[in-house]
């Protein structure tokens, strides 16, 4: 047995206990090195010997009994005061749950002001939403001291809860503990009061129940998720064979008493690959393992937006004084949905600017900020002609475009398709999409079903830009881009490509250029080019926007597993 002398022995170092002297001798002579740092300091050694002496004398029993009494008394007081004790009974270390770090910091500060120093068990030692007040009872504490400390904590606790806008049931929920009966009653009353007096959360399970004009006004120009597109997505991603093709949609609108919308957004709960936002090298390794088990390292995720929409999915009216309360109410609704759908994580994505106030609010509510791939857009192209577009590029970008795109332009023919495509054509386009999807490790997703492509090709809000390369008689489709065009922006959402001639004839660059021309032709104010392939898009004059997501997870095991995979791999194909 190997044990530490830092805790109960109150000294330092460690010790090994053997069943017989021969085993001790064997370990000492032929075992591995037994020194890992340095020799014990004489004072610690003296204390350890004295502690060992006590442990070998009958005195230890009464000392242990006194400590046991102190622990029992502290436990009793915590229960009497109704504090949410998370630690198991019997241990000298107590943990009173507070859920979010902000409440923990608040309480520790107040306790310090009252003359009591308590620790904070906080992330990464514990999960983000399982912060707690940690304190240790020793034999030397008197009952009076213990009572003073716990009664002070009990007095500070409810006031701090109120100030931070956290309720006792939320704490129990964060720790997955059942709620005491009296707290259930209190919670119902508090919730009713809060909702009646300030904000109201309207929740819809389908866009068909959301007023169309209201939704489209709110999200005009924000991305490819207007009312019609969402109705289309709901139809496509239901009743499918594959689990990953069935999405659950939720719409939340938070209003004040006058009915003004403060926060709104739509959310989908889908099966995600856990490495979706991991470095490409990590995804490549995981995909190798997925050939045996396609659902390896996948989780159900509740996410703002959907896997096929892009843009600012969360509307926050920052001019309202209630915006923070509204976001908090939205988060509460999301926590409830997460629990209902048994989703591992909540991801709020596509935040384009880092706003300190919002950032603090999210972190305080147990979210991590993670970087997403940069997003790219060409702003202000409405009044440009191709020649003017070329002129506004930097010298280097113009040179690249002339040399690598315009030189081959005569070889390409661009066709715009609208309406229902024939099945053979759709099959071919789908194959081209899978070509790209299978190589897109930077944003590793499940493949979309063909049904989706059939639906968007037929939708009046979408069009398909097909790029044919006429090297031989009977030009072949080199690229196909599915574009959404129902707002002031032109949004090429999905691309399919034949890579055969890409290197020589710059198929991808040509497709980008044709998209620019198409957006200008339609007099769109912006061309939103989305994630990945940043260098190529910047050469086309696209502005780069950093994108952020906030992640809240109940179980970080899978992510930790991904973290163990090396990012740099030798002999990558």
């Amino acid at each position: 047995m190997a044990t530490s002398m830092n805790k109960a022995f109150a000294s330092g170092g460690g010790l090994l206990v053997f069943g017989n002297p021969e085993l001790a001798r064997k370990v000492g002579t032929v075992g591995g090195p037994l020194l890992s740092s340095g020799p014990m300091q004489p004072s610690a050694l003296g204390a350890a010997i004295a502690a060992a002496g006590i442990h070998l004398s009958p005195e230890i029993t009464s000392l242990q009994q006194q400590l046991k009494d102190n622990i029992a008394f502290a436990r009793l007081l915590l229960e009497k005061y109704g504090l949410p004790v998370i630690s198991e009974p019997g241990a000298a270390i107590f943990f009173v749950g507070v859920s979010l770090p902000k409440l923990g910091h608040h309480i520790v500060k107040k306790m310090l002001e009252a003359g009591f120093y308590v620790n904070l068990g906080v992330f990464p030692t514990v999960p983000m939403k399982q912060t707690g007040i940690r304190f240790t009872i020793t034999r030397l504490h008197s009952f009076k001291e213990i009572e003073q400390m716990i009664s002070t904590l009990a007095a500070i606790f409810p006031a701090a809860l109120q100030e931070e806008g956290i309720t006792l049931p939320e704490i129990y929920k964060a720790f997955k503990k059942p709620l005491p009966e009296e707290a259930i009653l209190e919670n119902e009353v508090t919730d009713m009061l809060r909702q009646t007096l300030t904000l109201q959360c309207r929740h819809y399970a389908t866009i068909l129940d959301v007023p169309k004009e209201q939704w489209d006004t709110l999200f005009f120009g924000k991305g490819s998720f207007d009312w019609d597109n969402l109705a289309l997505l709901e139809q496509v991603f239901a009743g499918n064979d594959q689990e990953e093709d069935n999405w659950r949609f939720d719409y939340c609108i938070i209003c004040n008493r006058e009915g003004t919308i403060i926060t709104a957004g739509f959310f989908t709960t889908t099966l995600w690959k856990d490495d979706m936002l991991s470095p490409a090298a990590v995804s490549r390794q995981v995909e190798n393992q997925r050939t045996q088990n396609p659902y390896l390292l996948t989780s159900r995720v509740l996410c703002s937006g959907s896997p096929v929409t892009e843009g600012e999915h969360l509307y926050i009216n920052r001019e309202s004084s209630l915006w923070k309360a509204a976001v908090q109410l939205l988060l509460q609704k999301l926590y409830a949905l997460q629990q209902e759908y048994n989703a591992n994580s909540i991801v709020l994505r596509d935040f384009h600017h880092l706003e300190p106030e919002l950032d603090n609010l999210m972190v305080d509510h147990g979210f991590f900020r993670i970087g997403m791939p940069d997003t790219h857009a060409l702003p202000d192209i409405r009044h440009l002609e191709p020649a003017a577009f070329l002129q506004q590029l930097t010298h280097n970008a113009r040179r690249q475009l002339t040399k690598k795109v315009l030189r081959h332009q005569h070889l390409y023919k661009t066709i715009i398709h609208t309406g229902i495509p024939d099945e053979a054509m759709l099959d071919h386009w789908y194959r081209l999409y899978r070509n790209v999807q299978q190589h897109s490790y930077e944003l590793n997703t499940f493949p979309l079903p063909k049904k989706f492509f059939r639906a968007i090709a037929a939708s009046p809000n979408w069009e398909v830009l097909e790029l044919k390369l006429g090297l031989t008689e009977g030009a072949e489709t080199a690229a196909v881009v599915f574009c959404c065009h129902n707002s002031d922006a032109y949004l090429p959402m999905i691309i399919g490509m034949d890579y055969t001639h890409n290197r020589r004839y710059g198929v991808y660059r040509q497709a980008l250029y044709q998209l620019v021309l198409r957006a200008m032709h339609l007099h769109k104010s912006r061309l939103m080019l989305g994630f990945s392939a940043g260098t190529e898009k910047q050469k086309m004059g696209a502005a780069v926007t950093n994108a952020w997501a906030y992640l809240h997870t109940t179980d970080s095991f899978q992510m930790e597993m991904l973290g163990t995979k090396p990012v740099l791999v030798k002999n990558e194909p």
Binding site: S62, Q65, Q66, K68, D69, N70, A72, F73, L76, L77, K80, S142, F143, K144, E147, S151
Partner: protein, 79 residues
């Protein structure tokens, strides 16, 4: 704050003495040459603390007692 009789009995003698010091109210005292019995009201029950004179008045027991016994010990018969 309230501690029940059941909870009180979970403590050792040292713990019980601390509880009596903190929350107890002395209601009766009976002395003999060998021992002394101090009756305390502790929340909603009574405790008899017995000290042994032969061992320098060392407390030897602090167990809950019934109200009947308290009446018996108290001089005026009330508790």
């Amino acid at each position: 704050m309230n501690i029940t009789k059941g909870e009180y009995t979970q403590f050792s003698l040292t713990g019980r003495l601390q509880l009596l010091t903190l929350y107890g109210e002395l209601v009766a005292l009976v002395s003999s040459p060998e021992a002394e019995v101090l009756i305390f009201r502790l929340f909603d029950f009574f405790v008899a603390l017995v000290t042994d004179h032969s061992r320098c008045s060392t407390p030897v027991a602090a167990d809950p007692v019934t109200p009947g016994l308290v009446k018996f010990y108290s001089q005026d018969g009330t508790c």
